[in-house]
């Protein structure tokens, strides 16, 4: 009986079986819903964009790791999520080469220089998206109308510049101008709820984020439902503000994160130079995340007050 050589390790000896890969591919799966909606409304061009950014993101990560002589870990799926989310945040008519630039910036500057998965302070897809917004403002604000294929303004820009509202049903279903993935609130909601159900997304962030925007826009005399449905808020709240790497680890911290992001969105939408502030709000709160983590360390079981 003594011939066997056993394994020794520290307890625990069993594991939940959950893995990073499974989480990432689930998110990618959930993202397929808004992707399909985007392709439905904007045509094959949107699909090409999604495929391009995803491939570019994965390749960038692989090349970066090869150059550093580190193991290539693109199969953890996080680069795929980043790539998809970047495309979903782009106007459907963006030149492909710009999308590739966005992917490279996302992964290289947004993620790999900090050491890769799990170490980046900012949401990589949003780093890419905001970089593009600031770098190529004209192309990034040229919107295609899903109905007739002409260019036009997004509902938020119409509201901000001319004060014209768009009706809720169209916003909810998604046949309005905007980024590929942000048009259809219903598709995002379904994907997001699935992730909450699977436990990959903490409901606290979307709830506090959307709640803050609704309340504040109401107080400031805006139309809360319009502000919830228009622009990238839904996509941001369910898929981007919830990126676990760049958001607080404590429950209270996540609520603060959502509220802070909500305040920034309303500030920018109502008073800022840009019609939309979701990307900026999340990036800004990403910067606050380490401090939030520090300040919201939970009171541990049996903590004794010292001094």
């Amino acid at each position: 009986m003594g011939e066997y050589r056993f394994l020794i390790s520290s307890s625990p000896h069993i594991h939940s079986g959950e893995s990073v890969q499974r989480i990432m591919f689930s998110v990618a799966g959930a993202l397929l819903l808004p992707t399909i909606a985007g392709v439905y409304f904007f045509g094959y061009r949107a699909l090409i964009l999604v495929v391009t950014t995803t491939l570019a993101a994965v390749l960038t990560e692989a090349i970066f790791q090869k150059l550093r002589g580190k193991p290539v870990t693109v199969w953890d799926g996080s680069a795929i999520v980043t790539g998809m989310l970047l495309a979903l945040n782009l106007p459907p008519g963006l030149p492909l080469w710009m999308a590739v630039v966005g992917s490279v910036i996302s992964i290289a500057l947004g993620k790999m220089i900090y050491g890769g998965l799990g170490t980046n302070p900012f949401n990589p897809a949003l780093v890419g998206r905001v970089f593009l917004t600031v770098t190529f403002p004209v192309q990034m604000t040229t919107w295609i109308n899903p109905v007739d294929g002409t260019t036009g303004a997004t509902p938020l820009a119409l509201m901000k510049m001319q004060g014209i509202p768009t009706d809720y049903v169209r916003l909810f279903i998604g046949n309005v101008g905007g980024c590929i993935g942000e048009t259809s609130a219903i598709a995002i909601l379904l994907g997001g709820l699935y992730l909450i159900y699977r436990g990959y997304v903490d409901w606290r962030i979307p709830a506090s984020y959307l709640g803050t925007v609704a309340v504040l826009s109401f107080i400031l005399g805006g139309d809360p439902i319009f502000h919830l449905l228009a622009g990238g808020l839904m996509l941001g709240a369910f898929f981007m503000a919830t990126d676990m790497v760049t958001t607080p680890v404590t429950k209270l911290g996540r609520i603060i994160f959502g509220i802070g992001a909500g305040i920034f969105v309303v500030l920018i939408r109502f008073y800022g130079g840009y019609p939309e502030g979701v990307s900026f709000s999340i990036l800004l709160m990403n910067a606050f995340t380490p401090i939030i983590n520090r300040l919201t360390v939970p009171r541990i079981y049996g903590e004794v007050k010292t001094r």
């Binding site: 403002p137 004209v138 604000t141 510049m161 130079g273």
Partner: protein, 180 residues
């Protein structure tokens, strides 16, 4: 000498010397600086009032006007400064106005803090030239009678509203068709 006195004395020597050097340099450079400022002003006035060779400065109701004259001393138009609120800060401009025709004769941006490559393109002739010959009674609304720059609507709007609000005062002092 006690160390504190020495401290004070050395400091004093240094400051006084520095004061002397600076006052001297200032005397040297100041005329040149004034000259430059004058030259810039003159250039911008000439730019917005084509065809003039000299100008007169007039103060009216707290505003400064530069009345442009040609070789023969004929009045060719009025230049004045206007300020608009842009994307990155105030936009200062020189506007040329011909009261006889009730039209603008030119626009030059004197200073601004708009984004390079975007809002900053309001300095380019392609933008400023559209105001040449524009009637002062136009609405000055972006995207309607004022062409904007793609991706940057705020800066042109700032220029337009700056001119419009300045014109409101100016046309009261120098009404269209009136003498000056």
């Amino acid at each position: 000498m006690n160390q504190y006195t020495r401290m004070i004395v050395v400091l004093l020597i240094f400051s006084v010397l520095s004061g002397a050097v600076l006052a001297f340099s200032y005397e040297l450079a100041n005329p040149k600086i004034q000259e430059q400022a004058q030259k810039n002003l003159e250039a911008s006035i000439k730019n917005v009032l084509p065809g003039i060779t000299k100008y007169e400065q007039v103060e009216k109701e707290g505003l400064t006007f530069y009345i442009g004259l040609d070789d023969q001393g004929n009045k060719k138009g009025i230049a004045f400064k206007a300020t608009g609120q842009g994307f990155g800060g105030p936009i200062e401009m020189m506007v040329g106005y011909d009261p006889k025709e009730g039209k603008l004769t030119g626009l030059q941006i004197l200073s601004m803090a708009e984004t390079p490559g975007l809002g900053a393109r309001i300095q380019e002739p392609t933008f400023t030239d559209q105001f040449k010959g524009k009637s002062v009674n136009d609405p000055f609304e972006p995207k309607k009678d004022v062409q904007v720059i793609t991706g940057a609507t705020i800066s042109p709007a700032g220029v337009a509203s700056g001119i419009k609000s300045a014109l409101e005062k100016v046309t009261k002092i120098y009404p269209v068709g009136g003498d000056y």
